[in-house]
């Protein structure tokens, strides 16, 4: 019966996509609201982010180290929290709706649309459903925490979609939206600055006539202005925050580069990196700050070790063991790992 319903719905139509979007939304929302209410297990960054968000509009706001990424995410969370309070519901209601929309959009609309445009290949209803279910299986729990990783990806996917749309039809509207969404991604995670380079390449890809060239130039100025103003605002605020929050004087980038040599994975316990520790010992490096220059110097003095360390980081990043972020102890599923490897192999 389910199969006959599947056959009747024409997936190429907008109706089919909207229907699938609501199914994906419903699945994630039900999971977040009823099946896996995890507020009691929010830890570290999640816990701190929520604390900052709930006091965001109060006279005495709570400040935390998580604010080094800027204030945009806490602003969104604070709005979602207010929304929940209006409905006198669980404080997670607003966040769960947001995260379910995010999940449904990424899996049903965003990524499949990008692949369709790139490969000029219509994707079937079944394939989209399968993709949604796979992402749900592997990452379902990751969407339940107030962390910036997935919202940043969500906004970046929207940005890429609109730059591709602009490539098809050069209209100010599309590049304006692209600018807004990429700025949102940047305000959530600064490393999305790298994506900007590729967005610019896509932006100037199909310049043909003089008129389009002039129009594109104007759009580029407009787009750059949005990004620059938002980055300046963010940077001013971060300086203010750094004077408010005691961060022990540690530069986040230097600190993470150092930890990257000492630890090879956090999942959920910390796996030490014996090679990295050996390299640090050889260089008599005991400080917890490691500048980018010093890090690159290690590549010259210990090229093989450094390549192996970073290759292992790539593998460890792709080798996921849990569908949630914070896990209490090692409970690894063999099937989970196996399915992940099979899916990666399907690409290769």
């Amino acid at each position: 019966m389910l199969f006959s319903v599947y056959k009747r719905v024409n997936f190429n139509s907008i109706t089919g996509i909207v229907l699938l979007f609501f199914i994906a939304f419903g699945v994630m929302f039900l999971y977040a609201q009823k099946i896996y209410p995890i507020e009691f297990s929010w830890g570290n960054d999640s816990k701190e982010s929520w604390k900052v968000a709930t006091t965001f509009f109060s006279l005495h706001p709570y400040h935390s180290y998580v604010e080094y990424r800027g204030r945009f995410w806490f602003f969104i969370l604070a709005i979602l929290n207010k929304f929940s309070l209006i409905f006198n519901s669980s404080y997670k209601l607003g966040f769960n709706i947001f995260t379910s929309v995010e999940f449904a959009y990424i899996t049903v609309v965003g990524v499949p649309w990008i692949f369709e445009q790139l490969f000029k290949n219509k994707l079937s209803y079944l394939v989209r459903t399968l993709f949604m279910l796979v992402i749900f299986y592997f990452f379902r729990g990751h969407f339940l925490y107030p962390l910036v990783d997935f919202p940043a990806l969500f906004f970046s996917i929207l940005g890429v979609q609109f730059v591709l749309k602009y490539n098809q039809t050069p209209k100010l509207f599309f590049i304006g939206l692209c600018g807004i969404f990429i700025t949102c991604a940047l305000l959530l995670r600064m490393n999305y600055l790298v994506a900007l380079v590729f967005i610019f390449i896509l932006f100037i890809w199909k310049l043909k006539s003089n008129k389009i060239r002039i129009m594109s130039g104007l759009h580029l100025v407009f787009f750059s202005l949005i990004v620059t103003v938002s980055l300046i605002c963010s940077s001013i605020y971060q300086q203010k925050i750094q004077s408010l929050v005691k961060t022990s004087g540690i530069d986040v980038l230097k600190y993470q580069l150092f930890l990257g040599l000492k630890e090879q994975k956090i999942d959920p316990i910390v796996f030490p990196d014996n090679r990295g520790i050996m390299v640090l010992n050889k260089e008599n490096f005991n400080e917890i700050n490691l500048s980018l220059r010093q890090y690159l110097k290690l590549y010259i003095s210990h090229p093989l070790y450094m390549i192996v360390i970073n290759m292992q980081h790539i593998f460890n990043g792709l080798d996921i063991s849990y569908p949630i972020v914070y896990v209490d102890g090692l409970r690894i599923s063999f099937i989970f790992c196996l399915l992940n490897y099979i899916l990666i192999f399907l690409y290769s």
């Binding site: 990806l153 940005g159 490393n191 600055l193 980081h313």
Partner: protein, 96 residues
Amino acid sequence: MIAIKEKIFLSGFNLKEKIFILVTLFALIAPAMTTIPFSVEPRYQMPELLVLYAFGIFNINKRYDFKLIFKLVVFILFCFLLRSNTYMSLPGTSMI
């Protein structure tokens, strides 16, 4: 439907189109790649997995023969071997 992999590497797309595809995909995954030198939490690498899964699933009608299954088995064994390397860095921790 021609498999995506065949489309990219064998036919269907010219060099310019291949570059366009790569640039678009890099716009999605490059930010995640900047976190590779850091201490890795798997959630950082989600965009790469998302793209890999999309390639895998949207390419699902690939022909399955003995050669491919043999390669799959070797690949899985290799992955578990690499994984054990990480887990053995913790004294007293078993692989699974």
